[in-house]
């Protein structure tokens, strides 16, 4: 039994490609659903996602009434009377803490608004500590949003160029379609579970891009090797062989990463929770996309095989 690696069959022979059509349809449906969830209603800037103040602008306060639990409905009703635009109150980690988010009303400075909120909360709840205050002005939030999207775009474009450079264009396209798939589904997850969409989420998505590429590259690398080795094997079989060969690595690395991220999600406190959950999802979806999105795209497109390259070499003198 031990080491566990002995449990994994020495050679697996799963017919991954046989399910590719089914998986493709599922992926496309999931991507459409995710896009819908993330975009609808088309309110700028974040559509259907729970927009953090990083991108929407406004003020965020983390309040704590330890040792008592925060009376969230009391906080809501108290702040509702202040005529601040769009107040959001949510539990955050321990029952004695909560997050309050609000927009600064027109014609009022953010300082004034914060003072009002602090006064209202202190009079309603007694002793309140304000553990965290974040204010993002409208100009900055617009820039952060734009930069965030640009970062995602550049990251994907850069991956395309790198894979193109290291492999071939087909591989690059396959990898990028895989990445887009991962990013879109992650947006869907953020919208579905109402996770906050903030700068940190962008960092998480960029990391997912890194991980998913990592995974894809390992498969592609093996595929390239096999293409050279088995010149006459049909491409579908060759892809199956490659995925099977790298399967034990995929499982072990994926499991380790998920275990480590799981520890972060459980013990890392409320701030790391959202981040870790997005990453765990990304690891799963990134692994899936290497097998069922990136590789089948290569199958669709075809790839230069040894025969075509075996043209007569130019005579060297």
């Amino acid at each position: 039994m031990w080491p566990l690696i002995r449990i994994l069959p020495i050679t697996t022979n799963f017919r991954f490609v046989a399910f590719a059509k089914f998986a493709g349809v599922a992926s496309v449906l999931a991507a459409i659903a995710s896009l819908f969830l993330a975009l609808y209603p088309l309110t700028p800037p974040c559509g259907g996602m729970n927009c953090g103040i990083d991108f929407k602008g406004g003020t965020l306060l983390e309040i704590s009434t330890a040792p008592q639990a925060v009376d969230l409905s009391r906080v809501r009703s108290e702040l509702g009377g202040l005529e601040l635009g769009d107040v959001q109150v949510q539990a955050f980690g321990a029952p004695s803490s909560a997050l309050v988010r609000f927009q600064t009303p027109e014609g009022e400075s953010s300082e004034q608004a914060i003072e009002e909120v602090k006064a209202a909360l202190t009079s309603a709840l007694g002793e309140v500590t304000f553990a965290k205050t974040e204010v993002v002005g409208p100009k900055v939030s617009g820039e952060l949003f734009q930069n965030g999207l640009m970062a995602l775009g550049f990251a994907i474009a850069l991956m395309l160029v790198y894979i193109w450079f290291r492999f071939e264009l087909q591989f690059g396209i396959g990898a990028v379609v895989g990445l887009l798939h991962d990013v879109v589904l992650t947006f869907g997850l953020i919208a579905l579970f109402d996770l906050e969409f903030s700068l940190t989420s962008i960092a998480a998505i960029l990391t997912i891009i890194g991980y998913s590429m990592n995974d894809t590259v390992v498969v592609f690398d093996r595929m390239r090797e096999n293409i050279r080795k088995y010149k006459r094997m049909p491409l579908a079989e060759l892809i199956d062989l490659t995925i099977n060969e790298t399967l034990s690595r995929t499982i072990i690395t994926g499991l380790t990463t998920i275990l480590a991220l799981g520890a972060l999600a459980i013990f890392g406190g409320p701030t790391l929770f959202g981040f870790s959950v997005i990453m765990i999802f990304g690891v799963v979806i990134g692994t899936y996309s290497s097998i069922y999105v990136a590789a089948p795209i290569i199958l669709l497109w075809g790839v230069k095989r040894g025969e075509e390259e075996a043209e007569p070499l130019p005579v060297r003198t």
């Binding site: 050679t11 970062a151 690395t253 520890a263 890392g268």
Partner: protein, 534 residues
């Protein structure tokens, strides 16, 4: 690959020593470190504001206000210059960023232009004979004074530089520990003050322009018109905070201004016991103030701070000593803050707070604790999993490599003083997973080669050499993602990108080189026929 060259062992040993030496300071309290001999490194991990507690402010210098002020001053200077030259004029006004004026006698238009050019312009930096304004004919009898764009931009850039200097002086006076003040982009300033969890005080101290002027009160003004905001030419209506009247009409031209102060301090009025701000002028300021007060005994002058009148005392005698005091409705603390501001100097332009992030020290400490626990558990989980998956020997070798990796990450982060943020902790865990991946790739490759019928030594060799291209490609993509984050991210995201990049580099180093050296040592000692991972 498996031939054990001496340099590989040396590199691994040196790296391990470096890792231990430079990560150990993080385990010791600050006092113990201070008492250690000088060769022991002192640098600990540089915790971000989200872990340490503190304030982050993004300020924008309002360069538009600077322009507007320049415009107002130039209108006044034009009025004074033309009057002094005895040139009659009318319709002096601001128009779309320029100033236009009608010269009554068309024959004197050229004279007016010449004298205005000489008196209003300042030489343009980097040119000979260039001026920052142009005076051109405008219509039949008019003149148009415009500002040179490049000069305005240079002035705005200078204002940002000055603002940084003044903010630094003000924050230093507050006694904030190691603030970071850096310029961002064209007209923005980032202030990071660790440990300062009262952002309101910080904002009060750095956000206030603190432009102090002494201006004569215009007693001739029509109070009814002033109530509607209208003032005679050359005067302006300012809100008053002296508690006597809601507004006061003052002459625009300042007698003396804050630049001429040499000192300011908080004190108490000997008669009323009220908190006041004592100040002292430099010699130029003292002379001007002396002359002006001597000429206007019995009249009032207004002490104006940022466009609001603090008080408007009556001049009882010429004030020639060069020192005085400002009384108003001060508390000792607010008087002290004002004295700090006056000592540090006025900001050349107003600042607006565009972004503020403050974390209380307690919340930071909680985050550090949660970070330590979760990283520790995550790390141990990875170690246990590797031993379970690959057995005592290969798993154990991975464990040693991972431990060295963790030491190296902490050491490099401490030495480079890269900022560790909360998302950065997640980055750390992720790099450990990356390190595991490199190890797994190598081990899996070895298993493949054994299955393909190679000998133990050949399989180990091939494992390293064939896994290399995958490892490099896979990690370059992560580094690329980190670069992008560094380019576009801010604050915590940059911290994350740093941690990720450092971690990827050390991970590749340990997973490839440390593992290789350990495996080679094992191989040399036991000469196995097969590998215990098949």
């Amino acid at each position: 690959m498996m031939t054990l060259s001496r340099w590989k062992i040396i590199v691994v040993v040196l790296a391990t020593i470096f890792g231990v030496l430079f990560s150990v300071p993080n385990l010791l309290p600050q006092q113990t470190l201070a008492s250690m001999p000088a060769f022991i490194p002192r640098q600990q991990l540089n915790l971000g504001l989200d872990l340490q507690g503190g304030s982050h402010l993004l300020l924008e210098v309002d360069t538009q206000a600077l322009r507007a002020e320049r415009l107002v001053n130039t209108v006044e200077d034009t009025r004074v210059t033309l009057t002094a030259e005895g040139i009659a004029f009318s319709e002096l006004r601001e128009q779309g960023g320029d100033i236009t004026v009608r010269i009554t006698d068309p024959a004197r238009r050229n004279d007016a232009a010449t004298v205005l050019r000489r008196n209003l312009g300042t030489p343009l930096a980097g040119t000979t004979g260039g001026s920052d304004i142009t005076v051109n004919n405008d219509g039949e009898a008019g003149l148009r004074i415009s500002f040179v764009e490049a000069a305005m931009n240079a002035e705005a850039a200078k204002a940002v530089e000055q603002s940084i200097e003044i903010i630094r002086r003000r924050i230093d006076e507050l006694g904030t520990r190691e603030p970071t003040i850096i310029r961002q982009g064209v007209d923005r300033i980032v202030v990071q003050a660790p440990g300062e969890s009262d952002p309101e005080r910080l904002k009060n101290v750095i956000g206030q322009t603190a432009k102090l002027t002494f201006q004569m009160v215009d007693e001739s003004a029509d109070l009814a018109a002033a109530a509607e905001g209208r003032a005679p030419p050359g005067s302006e209506v300012l809100p008053s905070e002296d508690g006597l009247t809601p507004f006061i009409v003052v002459r625009r031209r300042a007698l003396v201004s804050g630049e001429m102060l040499t000192d300011a301090s908080q004190g108490f009025d000997s008669q009323t016991g009220e908190a006041v701000v004592n100040f002292r002028f430099n010699s130029l300021g003292a002379r001007r103030f002396g002359e002006a007060t001597a000429a206007s005994i019995g009249q009032r002058f207004a002490i104006v701070l940022d466009g609001r009148v603090i008080s408007a005392p009556v001049i009882r005698s010429a004030i020639t000593g060069g020192s005085g005091m400002i009384s108003g409705s001060f508390t000792p603390e607010s008087a002290n803050d004002l004295a700090v501001l006056l000592r540090a100097g006025a900001l050349p332009a107003p600042l607006t707070v565009e972004e503020q992030r403050t974390v209380g020290a307690e919340l930071g400490a909680d985050a550090v604790r949660a970070g330590q626990i979760s990283t520790g558990i995550g790390f141990v989980t990875i170690l246990v999993f590797m031993v379970l998956a690959y057995g005592g020997l290969f798993g154990g070798i991975s464990v040693i490599a991972l431990l060295i990796n963790a030491l190296l990450i902490i050491a490099v982060m401490s030495v480079t003083q890269a900022t560790l943020t909360l998302p950065g902790i997640a980055g750390l865990i992720l790099t450990l997973a990356v390190a595991v991946d490199a190890n797994v790739l190598i081990y899996e490759r070895m298993r493949d080669e054994i299955r393909a019928g190679r000998t133990a030594i050949a399989a180990m060799d091939a494992g390293f050499s064939k896994a290399m291209s995958s490892i490099i490609d896979a990690n370059v993509t992560t580094i690329l993602a980190a670069l992008i984050m560094f380019q576009f991210g801010s604050g915590p995201v940059r911290g994350f990108a740093w941690t990720l990049s450092i971690g990827v580099l050390t991970s590749v180093f340990t997973a490839v080189l440390v593992t290789q050296v350990l495996l080679a040592l094992w191989f040399r000692a036991t000469r196995p026929k097969t590998l215990p991972i098949v």
